[in-house]
Structure formats: C-alpha cells, structure tokens
C-alpha cells in the first residue's frame, strides 16, 4: 500500500472529524468541491454541511469567523486556498488568533488550525508560490507546523487539530503527490521534536517542508563527493527544536540552512543566529544559507533557478568545507 501526502492530509481530516464532533472545516470551495487540491474531498458527503461549509470568498472573514467558532468551543480547521491569498487574513491572525489567550490571561483559547498550501515549484501564476512562514514564526502565540513527508502530513495535522493553541499549518503543495509506503493512520514523532532524516558528519543541513526531499537528494548525491550530510527536518517552525539542531552542528561543525523563503530576515537568519549562540566553538565555518532570492517570487520559467536544489545545497556544503 502506498499513499500520497494529499491522501494523508485528507485522511487526517476525515479521522479528526470522526474523532471529535467539535471539529469543523470552513473555507473557499472546501465542501462540495473538496478544495482545489481535494484535500477536503468527501468530507461533506460523510459529515454534512454543518461540519464543513463553503464560505464567501474572503480570507479575513474565514479566519475571523473561525475565531468566533473557536471561542464558542469548536475546533475549526480553516483552509486558505493559496499562500498568496493569505494576506487579507493577516490582521486576524496577528491581532487575534495569536493573542487571544494572552489578552484574556488564559481565560479563552483558540484551538484552531489554518491550513495553507505554500511554496513554489508547480509552474504557477503569480501569488501561488509564496513562502510566508517567517511572518508567523515571528508572531508569539502562534504555532507553525510544516510536514516534509506524507507520514508527517497525517500525524502532524492530527496533532495540530488536537492542539489547544492555534496552529498555522503550511502544506508543501509541490509535495502533495509524493508517496509513502505503508498504511494510515500513522503516528510519527511528537511535533515539538525535529527529526534527523539521515545521519552524517560532514555538515548539518537544516530544512523543512518542501525542502526535505531536496535535502535528501543532496544527501544522496553528497556520497559521490565523499561527504555525509546530516539532514534535520524541523517540522515545527514555531517553536523550533534548537537542541536537536545544535547538537548536530556540534558534531558536524558545519551548518547549511535551506528554505524557499527569501534570504533577508528569512527563517535561516534566526536559525543561524541560534546556531552561533549554541555551537560557537564547534563551528568550522559560517552558517551557510540556501534560500530564495530577495526578490518577489519570479515568473514560473525562472523558478528552477530561484528554488534551492540539490546542487545549490552541495555548493553551500563546499563553501563551508573550503572556508
């Protein structure tokens, strides 16, 4: 048996709906259509239109309505159709989703999940390939999860829905059809733990979400160079399990951070800062970053150059080795 990441996400939603009556799903085209990526397929048929419903086309409205439903005691799972359409909901996410627990001194909480297909690599038109995770990594009160494997997609989404804090769940849409062998349901490591995907001692490659298969490809190719890369899948971007990262860098002495988001003040900036704080004497070279450019996401015919790939990761490893 094999299943895709899309299958895993769909199964996680079905199972969460069955497990807990307070789970509800709302968003654009999620009910009848099952979402533009079919992640919510067949849920309306099974659970009815009170539990999953199509909303008017308005992202702030979707997130704001979900906040109210969560205040009442439900566990809303919201779908934002594409990364680039998230921004109308930004105010609701930053001013309310992130802060309600703190504002009320813990009297109210918002157990809600905002699912966002994100990242590039699918030849899309503009506004469909963005990586806005940094905004939410910087926002206290939010949790930010992003799975890099189909197994994690299932297990982490179940964990996100069960969480009493709000979770922004970034789904690497270019990996929706990556396959895993085995059966669902599957339980992987708790989401607070970063996972070492492959061990090595030449350099630590820190990655997440859509960059996990890319980093694994780089690790496979590195063998030809006589290098062994240790790939760490962060899984949770807020909070980040720095202990796992730092103990790996203490072993390898070199670190390469990989993400699709832009370089300047991207996730790699903070990760690099934490590495130098935590593993200063172990570092043989500056922390390398392999990221998107400090430009808007480019047109589709340039995205291959824009996106980190196995070669650019290996180049970064070489820079670290040559330093």
């Amino acid at each position: 048996m094999s299943y895709t990441m899309a299958d895993a996400l769909n199964a996680a939603l079905h199972d969460a709906m069955a497990h807990d009556d307070s789970v509800v799903i709302l968003g654009e085209d999620v009910a009848t259509l099952g979402g533009v990526f079919r992640i919510t397929a067949d849920i309306e048929r099974k659970y009815g239109s009170d539990r999953i419903f199509d909303t008017p086309l308005a992202e702030s409205g979707i997130v704001g309505t979900a906040i109210g439903m969560a205040m009442y005691g439900m566990r809303p799972v919201v779908e934002i159709q594409f990364d680039g359409f998230l921004y109308p909901a930004f105010e609701q996410m930053v001013c309310h989703v992130a802060k309600l627990r703190n504002r009320t001194r813990g009297a109210l909480q918002l157990p809600m999940v905002i699912r966002i297909p994100y990242g590039g690599g699918i030849g899309a038109v503009e506004h469909h390939s963005e990586s806005p995770e940094g905004y939410f990594m910087q926002t206290a009160g939010l949790k930010v999860f992003t799975p890099g494997t189909p197994e994690d997609a299932y297990s982490m989404l179940r964990e996100a829905i069960a969480d009493d804090d709000p979770v922004i769940f970034f789904e690497p849409k270019r990996r929706y059809y990556e396959k895993a062998e085995g059966q669902l349901p599957v339980t992987t490591e708790p989401v607070g733990e970063a996972v070492v995907r492959t061990t090595g001692d030449t350099a630590t490659v820190v990655a997440y979400g859509p960059m996990i298969p890319t980093a694994m490809e780089a690790a496979a190719l590195a063998v030809d160079e006589g290098w062994s890369l240790e790939v760490i899948d962060l899984r949770s971007l807020n909070p980040i399990d720095y202990d796992t990262v730092i103990s790996s860098v203490k072993k390898t002495g070199r670190a390469v951070v990989v993400h699709e988001a832009s370089l300047t003040l991207g996730p790699g900036a903070e990760i690099a800062a934490r590495i130098q704080e935590g593993a200063f004497y172990a570092l043989e070279a500056p922390v390398q970053r392999v990221t998107g450019w400090d430009t808007p996401y480019p047109p589709a015919l340039l995205e291959e150059e824009y996106l980190p790939n196995a070669d650019t990761i290996l180049n970064a490893v070489e820079r670290a080795l040559d330093f």
Binding site: S60, M69, E91, C95, R101, T104, G141, D165
Partner: protein, 359 residues
C-alpha cells in the same frame, strides 16, 4: 422583498428631547421599575465614565475612551439583550459591559496596564473588547454561527462606530452573517466622528443602515439618544435573530460628547457650539424629564440614584488606585498553554537579570 429591508427614512424616535412621547410609540411592555432601572443604568454608566476620565487625568489610567452621550443607545440595547446573549464590543461600550455585569474596576485596571483582560468573558457573555476596528464583528458571526449549529438560542451583538463601517471586516462580517444565517445584531453607534473624521467622509450611502440591503438583511435607524427607541428596535431585531437566525443592522444616531479619547483634542476639528446642540438632546435628561412627568422619579429618588452611583465610584477608585503590576514572569505565562522551551529560557534569563540588578 428587497424594498422592505430598507430602514426608515429617518431614525425612529419615541421620546422627544423635551421628555414627551410620540403618539406612535408602541407598547414597550416596560414597567415603571424597569424604566427607572434604565435611568439608573444610564446614570451609573455616566458616573463611572466620569470617574475614569478623572482617574486618567490623575495619571492612574493610560488613556480612556469616554462613552458620554451614548448611554441611551447602549442601555436601550443592553436592556433588549437576554442573559445568555453575547456582546462583541469596542473600547467604548461601557454601558453594555456594565449591564452585562463586567466589573468596571477590571476594565479600569486594564487601562492602568495591569493586563489586557481581567475578567473571564464566559462569565459575562462579554468578549474581550477589540481595539483593531471592526475585526471583532467576524468573531461575533463565528460565535453566533457555532451557537446556532449547537442548538443554542443565543443572539450575538456586534458593536462598532461609524468609522468601522468603512473597514473590510465590517463588510465581510455582515456578508458572512447573512449567508450563514448567523443570529447577529450589528449595532452601529454613529456618534458623528471617527476620531476627527466626520461620518460623511466614511460613506455616501443615504445612511449606514441602508447598507443592510446590500447584505440582504434588515436595516434599522434609531435615535440613539432615545433609550426607548433603542430598546424597542433592538428587541425587534434580536427577536428576529433568535427565531430565524437572520442578522440585522441597527444604526443608532448619537453624539460623542467627549474627545475620541483623553489623548485627543477635539477643538481641532469641531466647534463647542456643535456639541452644545447635543446637550439638549441628552439621553439621561430626556428620560428624567419623562419619568418626572409620570411621577416615577423625583428629586429624592434621583438623589438616591446618584448617591449609589457615587458610592460605587468610590469603591472602584479604591480598587484601581491600589492595583499593581503583575509579576514579570506572567508576561510569559499565557502566550501558549504550555510555554515552549525558548520562552522558558528567555523568561528565566529576564528574571535572573532583574534579580541581579536587585530590582
């Protein structure tokens, strides 16, 4: 069908500024005691609001947004709310929060800076008030929708001012409520100004209430300084929402007698003469005139009401002046249910630094 959704051409008024009643007033079913209670609630609101202004002047509060002048709109509305109804309000709904039972001192301690919310919203059906304009109307919709899906017969009240009607979230909230059949009464207090910006700069619609038809919901206009009209129209809107889930939009025409907040200088954008024209339309004075004429109020009763409000004011003052900063560690306590490792580390580093400094 659509034509019937339009609000009346002019705001509904039952009680004239001189305290006389229009012949068209329906039977409101309010007893003398309830009318006096409305009066008492308005006096209490104004007295405590006045205390808050003076506490701000004395440096006890960072800022205060006064409700003065809007007591009629709010108390009328609040009297039409059932106990299990919820309010999602702005920072100026002191009449509503008092009527819902929220301890006034907790609000003032909030403005002193002790914390952002010092009461449990679930206990009072009063959501933590929202400072980002119009954003909370969507929460009202979600709360109402979830309640209705759960078979709960409550109605949710969403409060905003005229300026908020320009926000995208105002539009999205009314649209979502209507499409979802979410039982929400959107109660807009058009108090003339959004800080300095007059209401005419917010919209060219014939009235804010006219916007309702665009969402397929009923619009209402009331004289917000007529507590009886505010009560009755809200009661009609709430009954409809409770029975059918249909939301509605009420525009209460009123006037903000004070600057936007204690930090504002309203002499830069309006004349004293303008405010003066509203003194005679005062909602408290108006009901007082009526109830004196019916014999339900007299000097002695009014003195008693004022005395009770002043007594409460004194105890609120004592509680606010004695309020102190929370422990520093608490700043880290409510960010997540369980503080993550990095937050615990940061907290401990901060506490160690404070201890080392001997603070």
């Amino acid at each position: 069908m659509s034509i019937s959704l339009l609000p009346p051409e002019s705001p509904v008024q039952y009680l004239r500024p001189d305290g006389t009643l229009h012949d068209n007033m329906p039977n409101l079913g309010l007893s003398s005691d309830e009318l006096v209670d409305m009066y008492r609630s308005m006096v209490r609101t104004r007295t405590l609001d006045t205390l808050a202004i003076s506490l701000q002047r004395q440096g006890q509060l960072g800022v205060w947004a006064s409700v003065r002048g809007q007591e009629g709109a709010q108390i009328g509305c609040a009297f039409a709310m059932a106990d299990n109804d919820w309010a999602f309000a702005t920072y100026r709904e002191h009449g509503i929060s008092l009527r819902k039972g929220v301890p006034f001192a907790s609000l003032l301690r909030q403005y002193k800076g002790e914390w952002f919310g010092l009461f449990d919203p679930k206990e009072y059906g009063f959501a933590p008030h929202s400072i980002p304009i119009a954003t909370h109307l969507l929460h009202a919709v979600g709360y109402a929708h979830a309640a209705r899906l759960s078979g709960d017969d409550l109605v949710v009240f969403g409060f905003v001012g005229d300026g908020a009607t320009s926000e995208g979230d105002f539009h999205e909230a009314l649209n979502f409520a209507s499409v979802l059949d979410a039982p929400v009464v959107f109660f807009v207090q058009n108090n003339g100004y959004a800080i300095s910006t007059p209401a005419r700069i917010q919209t060219r619609a014939p009235s804010i209430a006219h916007k309702a038809i665009g969402y397929g919901m009923q619009g209402y206009q009331v004289d917000g300084n007529d507590v009886l009209a505010s009560y009755n129209i809200t009661r009609i809107a709430a009954a409809e929402a409770r029975a059918t889930g249909r939301p509605s939009l009420i525009e209460a025409h009123t006037y903000r007698m004070q600057p936007h907040t204690t930090a504002d200088d309203d002499t830069r954008y309006r004349t004293a003469a303008e405010a003066e024209t509203w003194v005679e339309k005062d909602p408290i004075l108006r009901l007082e005139r009526l109830l004196r004429s019916t014999g339900d109020l007299n000097d002695e009763l009014i003195e008693g009401i004022n005395h009770a409000a002043n007594e409460e004011s004194l105890s609120v003052r004592a509680e606010v002046t004695s309020a102190r900063a929370p422990a520093v560690a608490e700043a880290f306590s409510h960010v997540y249910l369980d503080p993550p490792g990095h937050l615990i580390k940061q907290r401990d580093a901060v506490l160690a630094e404070i201890e080392e400094a001997g603070l």
